[in-house]
């Protein structure tokens, strides 16, 4: 028979929960990781960036609190300390993941896996030896890497987000290629620490997944932070010379000490030799799966960034991993459809369900209901009046189909919206739910009232 019931390839936020869930369900489970437990999220993504952003925010608050009656003189920061703190937190969490896996009886295997058949893998271990393993079920959770298009110069000043996180000092001038989520998060963080940032985005605006009204708030605040946003044309003629990176945006020359490339992510499927197992891969290199995460080969599942149409978020991968492990154990679990997204820009953004634009594209008749933080007591008290919450509702039933929020704590606030959308609440249930005062979350209740044009805390329209 097989060496294991379940083998998971990749110990990122999709893989390690899949392994733990499989082990919980009594499966003999192993997990193979080629680099660092915790994957991109924990080592080079969510966690390190949020650690640095926390440092940047501390500095920003310390330096800009005069209106609160707090004046600090000589506020300074040491990026090397910030980076060391980040490394320490990453190390602690990565160790935690290994501990969790071991406590559940999962076998940890270091090395790079490739398929030798539908149930067989070879693993090249760090010492160079190759080991052969077999399993009844294999869950592919190998993730993705930042895309580095071929037209970019190969130079240490041209880097992806992972290399950027290893910097021991920030550049004076930073050029960011790509105004998507990752590009904007790094731009905000660096700008808060005094770096002059220029973002070039080929599309007409930054973070096009967001509705226009949300983008407008982000754009304004980023520009206030000193970020130059150049959109609607590509960055061409990128070259490295005399310690600077330069390029052309339309007929304007742009330069920086570094170029951060954030133009999307590529699935890590090529090295897996999926053809040996008969797993179908589409032309973009991603793996098509069914509602349970099953590939065209019944005993092989795929979760996370390398799945076709994946939202490429850690928490989406986690839910997919758990669903796949449960499906492998014969349970009827399915991948959830509603997945909140959090964007750690300044200000933060949260979104869940359908955007207004997407709902209209799907031909739904929608009505939006907005409440601005400027009308909220807590927001005023905290000096965080920028932004709003917005429900995207079915105009006939009032069902909340989607939500977006931009402003302070937006990434925390979106959780309530996701719960409401997933469980098909209408604005009436949300509006009738008592929300604590004074909190930012009251905005959701007020916006629900706005659907009926019945806000208590907005002047009558």
């Amino acid at each position: 028979m097989f060496d294991y019931d379940v083998i998971v390839i990749g110990a990122g936020p999709g893989g390690y929960p899949a392994a733990i869930r499989a082990a919980q369900l009594g499966k003999k489970t192993a997990i193979i990781e080629k680099e660092a437990f915790g994957g991109t999220c924990l080592n080079w993504g969510c966690i390190p960036t949020k650690t640095l952003i926390a440092s940047a925010e501390r500095f920003h608050h310390a330096a800009h609190s005069e209106v609160f009656g707090v004046t600090a003189k000589g506020v300074a920061f040491d990026y090397a300390v910030m980076a060391a703190r980040k490394d320490e937190i990453v190390k602690r969490l990565s160790g935690g993941v290994q501990g969790l896996l071991k406590s559940n009886g999962v076998t940890l295997i270091a090395g790079a896996a490739r398929f030798e058949g539908p149930n067989r893998l070879s693993v090249v271990q760090p010492d160079g030896d190759t080991r052969w393993l077999s399993a009844a079920t294999i869950i592919i959770a190998a993730g993705s890497d930042a895309a580095m298009p071929g037209f970019l110069p190969k130079d240490k000043r041209v880097m992806d987000s992972r290399a950027f996180l290893d910097l021991k000092a920030l550049p004076k001038r930073l050029l960011v290629l790509g105004g998507g989520v990752i590009g904007c998060e790094f731009a905000c963080m660096a700008a808060a620490l005094g770096t002059r940032v220029t973002v070039v985005e080929m599309l007409e605006d930054i973070v096009m997944v967001l509705d226009r009204d949300v983008r407008r708030v982000l754009r304004k605040r980023m520009e206030t932070l000193g970020v130059t946003l150049l959109t609607g044309a590509p960055l061409t003629g990128i070259a490295v010379k005399d310690g600077t990176v330069s390029g052309m945006y339309k007929d304007q020359a742009v330069t920086g000490d570094l170029l951060l490339v954030a133009v999307g992510r590529r699935p890590n499927t090529a090295a897996l030799d999926l053809a040996r197992a008969g797993v179908k891969v589409d032309e973009r290199g991603t793996i098509p799966v069914d509602a349970q995460g099953r590939t065209n080969v019944a005993s092989i599942f795929a979760v996370g960034d390398l799945v076709t149409g994946s939202i490429q978020l850690a928490h989406a991968a986690t839910q997919q991993g758990v669903a796949a492990a449960e499906a492998a154990a014969g349970m009827k679990s399915a991948v959830e459809k509603v997945c909140p997204s959090c964007i750690f820009t300044s200000p933060e953004i949260g979104l869940a369900g359908l955007t207004e634009a997407k709902a209209q594209q799907l031909g739904r008749t929608v009505k939006t209901a907005i409440f601005p933080f400027a009308a909220l007591g807590k927001a005023m008290a905290a000096g965080e009046t920028d932004g709003f919450v917005k429900w995207i509702c079915d105009s006939a039933t009032g069902q909340v189909l989607g939500a977006q929020t931009v402003g302070a704590h937006a990434t925390e606030l979106i959780a309530e919206a996701a719960l409401a959308i997933r469980n098909e609440l209408t604005v009436d249930e949300v509006g009738r739910t008592i929300h604590s005062h004074p909190t930012m979350s009251e905005a959701w209740m007020e916006a629900a009232h706005a659907f009926h044009n019945a806000c208590i805390h907005l002047p009558k329209r």
Binding site: G398, V400, E424, L425, E429
Partner: protein
């Protein structure tokens, strides 16, 4: 002075129609030539332009309502001008002859209808969610429900279809107790449904006791209510209803019989390729149509029509040509096809097919054919039979050319064979005549000398 906007009569046979979409709203400025609205007739959707300039002052006829032709549907005039609240009576127009509905007499040409089974041609304007064109059939409506107001209110609030209830009140009246009894028997309290799903069910009167929940623990989700809604009858488009009526009429009144032959079109394909190399582009369909036209001249009875008492020769070959379009199938007519050269036939066929595909055919261009050809050659079929359009004596179903082993002069060769099936009205076409007719078509297709003379 405000000018009345009239629902136009766009064909001799057109009696009524519906506005599927107003492109202007009341108060909109209108220039001469602007498209005011789109109408759906029996056969097509057409755009109607404004003859006047000004402001669209009033709309009387909402989208989806069927009205007779010449009805006043609105007014265009100067801004602020007064117009009547109610539409004035229809403009004087010749009263539609009630006989138009009556069966297929050559004098009253009728709509050629889709001879093959194709997906329902639902015009985009009448999406399933809003079947406004005609009242939807309500099966239960026949039986009037005797129910107390309290019981009705409770059933409504609980999203239960009251027609499923048995009344225990006087004269079988449904009372509140009956609703409660059903709720208890059906374990209503244990039913789980999301707020949005319940709201949708209430709004669309979906009986939630008959809905299976797909959510956590069998919870009824919006998707489940939507699935229940999709099971409701949707009114067919007018075009589809006409097709349905005509095809039933055909199958019930015309005794069909079928004769199939396979034509060897190997040489014709070679000949066609040679022509193409010379820059002359003909389709197989052109040759088939021409062979049919010539054969109809030889067999006038197939170009005739009967009512069971009399038989009339139709004279001209007005050849119907079934064209598959996005929302179904239309049959444009090539008039007096016997008078056209092959090149003219080719040009007309192309032009009509293009008009059909872009929805530009006028009703009169789809009426009055005397014989129809339905060609499914490009749809990869071995053989099929078609239903005769009432008013005609036959229809020819043309299938795909197939390379098959065939016996030629005692030897097995690879030949391209194409099946053709004639459906004929046995009241006037006898089996022997039908057989001769299809063999005449086959002989022509296989006779390359004929085509050399005709091209």
């Amino acid at each position: 002075m405000a000018q009345a906007v009239i629902f136009p009569k766009l064909g001799q046979t057109m009696e009524e129609g519906a506005i599927v979409k107003w492109l202007k709203k009341e108060g909109d400025a209108v220039a001469k030539g602007d498209i005011l609205f789109e109408i759906e007739t029996d056969k097509a959707n057409l755009e109607v332009e404004s003859f006047f300039e000004g402001v669209l002052l009033k709309i009387y006829v909402r989208e989806g309502v069927t009205v007779p032709v010449n009805t006043v549907v609105g007014f265009v005039g100067a801004s602020g001008e007064k117009v009547p609240d109610q539409p004035p009576a229809a403009e004087a127009a010749p009263a539609p002859a009630p006989a138009a509905e009556a069966a297929a007499a050559p004098a009253a040409p009728v709509a050629p209808v889709a001879p093959v089974a194709t997906p329902a041609p639902v015009p985009q304007a009448s999406a399933p969610a809003k079947p406004v064109a005609l009242p939807a059939p309500v099966p239960a409506a026949a039986k009037r429900l005797v129910i107390s107001p309290r019981a009705r209110a409770l059933a409504q609030a609980a999203c239960i279809d009251p027609s499923r209830l048995k009344g225990t009140g006087p004269n079988g009246r449904i009372v509140e107790k009956d609703v409660r009894a059903l709720m208890s028997a059906a374990n209503y309290e244990a039913l789980r449904i999301t707020p949005a799903a319940k709201r949708l069910a209430a709004e669309k009167s979906v009986d939630i006791l008959s809905v299976r929940g797909s959510g956590d623990g069998g919870r009824i989700m919006v998707e489940d209510i939507e699935r229940a809604l999709r099971r409701r009858p949707v009114t067919l488009s007018r075009m589809r209803q006409i097709i349905a009526r005509r095809l039933v009429e055909s199958k019930q009144t015309i005794p069909h019989f079928y004769v199939t032959v396979k034509a060897d079109i190997t040489d014709l394909m070679t000949f066609r390729a040679d022509l193409k190399a010379k820059g002359l582009s003909y389709s197989v369909n052109d040759f088939v149509l021409e062979a049919v036209i010539l054969s109809l001249e030889e067999f006038p009875v197939v170009n005739s029509v009967t009512d069971g008492v009399t038989v009339s020769w139709r004279g001209d070959v007005d050849l119907g040509m079934a064209v598959s379009v996005d929302n179904g199938l239309v049959v444009p007519v090539i008039r007096a096809a016997q008078s056209l050269t092959l090149a003219e036939l080719n040009a007309q066929t192309k032009a009509l097919a293009e008009k059909a595909r872009t929805g530009k055919l006028l009703p009169d261009e789809m009426a009055g054919s005397t014989f129809t050809v339905s060609n499914m050659g490009m749809l990869n079929v071995d053989q099929f039979t078609a239903i005769i359009n009432p008013g005609e004596a036959g229809i020819l179903a043309v299938s795909s050319g197939r390379q098959v082993p065939a016996v030629v002069n005692g030897e097995v060769k690879i030949r391209t064979m194409m099946a053709m099936t004639l459906s004929a009205d046995h009241r006037i076409v006898d089996g022997a005549v039908g057989a001769q007719f299809v063999n005449a078509i086959r002989a022509k297709l296989e006779n390359i000398d004929l085509w050399k003379a005709l091209v």
